[in-house]
Symmetry: C2
Subunit: 244 residues, 2 copies
């Protein structure tokens, strides 16, 4: 049966039955494809874990023992070069799945940006169950397909866009993803710091900061309190993101 581990056990009593039934992100997540019976089987494998801000979820090179489903919080996924250069390959939000691109060991590290709650599944058990649930496998294939499309957009961004275009594209991506989760698409919230944004866009913190200022000065965005950014002129932002 699903259990909580680490901090936060007593924050809210879980229903005696299946905790997944009441899950708020289920419709966006892998588990959204399952019927109640299948959901019960999957939840039987599941352990909920809390990871506090800046904590590690998994490490590049470690044996891939677990797969995760993000329920609350924001996760950053990154790869490192031996000399310490870092590339963030993605930010994960509630409903996102962590472990699609996994073989025997993790090819990337993942850390929590904010305090986060995740559903954790033993990889082997998950795969076994997947073999028995075509709908689960189809859903994962669909999610993998989406991630590939996003990865190719990111490849275009990194290979061919200027700093301004990268930042504008980034704002729009965050906005679109918030909308997909049913949250307001504007203003957007940026839980990650300038360094994370820089390492995601292949820039430096200084360039990110300067570009924010430029967009602010030209009234395309406005920086609000609490790491919120108002997209004041979405048309202009779209134009910039696509290179005019």
């Amino acid at each position: 049966m699903a259990t909580h581990i680490t901090a936060g056990r007593g924050t809210r009593p879980l229903p005696d039955e299946n905790p997944c039934v009441a899950c708020e992100v289920r419709e966006f997540a892998v588990c959204g494809a399952l019927d109640p019976e299948e959901l019960a089987q999957l939840s039987a494998l599941m352990t909920q874990v809390m990871v506090e801000a800046q904590g590690t979820v998994l490490c590049e090179g470690d044996p891939a023992t677990f797969l995760f489903n993000i329920v609350e919080g924001t996760i950053r996924v990154h790869k490192l070069l031996p000399d310490g250069r870092r590339q963030i390959t993605g930010f994960l939000y509630p409903g996102d799945f962590l472990g699609l691109a996994v073989h025997d060991s993790y090819a990337y590290s993942a850390e929590a940006i904010t305090d986060s709650r995740l559903c954790r599944f033993p990889r082997d058990d998950f795969y076994t169950l997947m073999r028995q649930m075509p709908r689960l496998e189809q859903r994962l294939l669909g999610m993998a397909s989406n991630e590939l499309i996003e990865a190719q957009d990111q490849i275009l961004l990194l290979g061919r866009k200027t700093a301004q275009e990268k930042i504008a594209s980034f704002f729009l991506m965050i906005s679109r993803r918030a909308a997909r989760r049913g949250q307001p698409e504007n203003p957007i919230h940026l839980p990650m710091g300038r360094t994370d944004i820089a390492d995601f866009l292949g820039l430096t913190t200084e360039t990110v900061s300067r570009t924010f200022t430029q967009l602010k000065t030209s009234h395309v965005i406005r920086l609000l309190e609490n790491s919120q950014v108002l997209l004041a002129d979405q048309g202009a932002l779209s134009s910039i993101a696509q290179g005019q």
Copy 2:
């Protein structure tokens, strides 16, 4: 039943039965997962098409009517910005599948670099069949997973590597992929021109050319005739690719 269209019909008589049985790339391709019965069903959907060098396989934005399996030749997949900047997101070789990251319309264009032969499947029929063949779906999920891992490597390369590191990584990737297809891993063959390499690595042709010359001068590679490159010092190449 499978048929040839366009040029090349008479090059070699197909067996009367299932042409896929004798296919040389089947073990590397999607179809490698199927039993003879399933293979026959899949091949019933299939049409072989020839695309000559520089010809178009599919166009970004077009309705995604077909999926493809590369049998012979090399394909480049790219995305364009409105002003014409191009990013090549991948090179496809025999055994590779074209259409994993596809929704209703193609999110990229694909062109043949050399004369190519492809197996073409109507997308809807392919998906229908996939629902009935768990092994096909599993295989596709595995291939999507591999592609995601490669995409993340490419993201690291584009975001954080220098020109030298990009070129060195590129040589090693081509070498590794040749080995995976059972071809010699050294010397490598580069069917694509400098412009393609530049647009794949987020560089210009000039920088690609200069970097080739640097690596040649430092005896890490040697340029042979017929677009072949000898990786003279693979250790040095690996060191460079990872940033020393």
